[in-house]
Amino acid sequence: MRYAILLLGAPYSSQAAHSALRFAQAVIARGHRLEAVFFYADGVHNAASLATPPQDEPQIVDGWVDLQRDHDVRLEVCIAAALRRGIIDAAEAARHGKDGHSLAPPFTLTGLGQLIDLGVDCDRLITFGA
């Protein structure tokens, strides 16, 4: 089956990101195709490239990057939710005159239309709320 995940919680604030990452790994382990994880609302903090958790704690941002690298899972971040929380890629930083950026590939800024597409195209869309 083709799966997608909608994640609404920031890492380390609630359990949502941890649950979503474990679920994503289990979906793949059972032989399904995980098309994308869509990060919305506070979930956009999962894409923070400057996040530096202690080394002996779960590395949630790295977990998403690993999923993309190993299983070609798209990591789609709502642009409107991200920019207002300081999650911004190089192109948007230049457009808005910011000194730095905090979102890097493989995460991509995208619109809510992508979430609608995932809901329509995938067999299952699972939400992890906070």
Partner: protein, 96 residues
């Protein structure tokens, strides 16, 4: 069958009442995260008529030290079985 997930404890959120109100007799309810506090025997009365359709996630019970405290009326499943439930369900509705 629609699978409903609940991640809030029934002790500090009333969202479980909305979940129950939305469920049909064919639907299943999976308690995850703080929702597993609903597994305590003292909370069993909150889940009437859900026999055989009420599940809890083992990893979230274990991380709270509640595996052995879980009510007998609840089926404990692991994350792989969570995915299996989403395969069987036509839709998944998350309550949080």
């Amino acid at each position: 069958m629609i699978l409903h997930t609940l991640n809030r404890s029934p002790l500090d959120s009333s969202v479980y009442l909305q979940a129950l109100a939305a469920m049909t007799e064919a639907d299943c309810l999976l308690l995850i995260e703080d929702g597993v506090l609903g597994c305590l025997p003292a909370q069993a009365g909150r889940w009437p008529q859900l026999t055989g359709r009420l599940f809890a996630l083992r990893e979230d019970l274990a991380s709270r030290g509640l595996v052995d405290a879980c009510s007998d009326s609840i089926t404990v499943i692991d994350i792989q079985e969570f995915v299996a439930l989403t395969e069987q369900a036509t839709k998944v509705v998350s309550w949080y």
